[in-house]
């Protein structure tokens, strides 16, 4: 089905482990984004990508790594998970960087670090 999908929907991991959250979109949108959502902080940008092999840091990039070898995929890796990274993670895509394009969000991944 067309759209933007995130996996897994739920994940529990231990402190210090590496974990990768997946994001896949079928529209061939150029722009993709990773946000985390925490109570009281709204949506905070972690990383974004303007195209394959082009990524840039957002507001809260520390402890995260991204890659974008293919236009449709934008995985987010927590290199060594910490409890402060417990959050809901949303991936989003946009057709262009023009301000007139709304973002389309995935359903999110709820990550718990114990």
């Amino acid at each position: 089905d067309a759209g933007i999908t995130q996996s897994p929907r739920y994940k529990i991991t231990e402190t210090g482990r590496q974990v990768t959250l997946m994001c896949h979109q079928t529209w061939s949108h150029s722009y993709m984004f990773w946000y985390r959502q925490d109570l009281g902080h709204g949506l905070r940008l972690i990383y974004y990508s303007a195209a394959a092999d082009i990524t840039d840091k957002g507001e809260v990039p520390d402890g995260y790594v991204v890659s974008r070898s293919k236009t449709e995929n934008f995985p987010l890796t927590l290199e060594s998970a910490t409890r402060s990274q417990t959050s809901v993670y949303f991936c989003a895509s946009s057709e262009s960087d023009r301000d007139f394009d709304g973002y389309t969000f995935g359903s999110g991944t709820r990550l718990t670090v114990v």
């Binding site: 946000y35 949506l43 957002g58 301000d99 007139f100 709304g102 973002y103």
Partner: protein
Amino acid sequence: GQQVMQIPQYQHVQEGEDFTTYCNSSTTLSNIQWYKQRPGGHPVFLIQLVKSGEVKKQKRLTFQFGEAKKNSSLHITATQTTDVGTYFCRLGGATNKLIFGTGTLLAVQP
């Protein structure tokens, strides 16, 4: 960095009452977008405003962009339980395009 004030943080209304949330920027915006997130769901794009003083309507929702393009409001007339959720603004402009407001959580009591 850019300050994004969204007020109120939380609003509880009786069904049928009106509701308004405001998004304020410290800098002039090229445009602003609004999103709605249902409880347990993901943000969904609602609308974008571009012109100074612009007003757009979607059924019971009215969106307004300030004359100075530094603030915006979302007004819901006669709220319904289906309006429950968090409403976010997203700032437009070269340095702001990736920034969301902290959101306003709307609770509607039947």
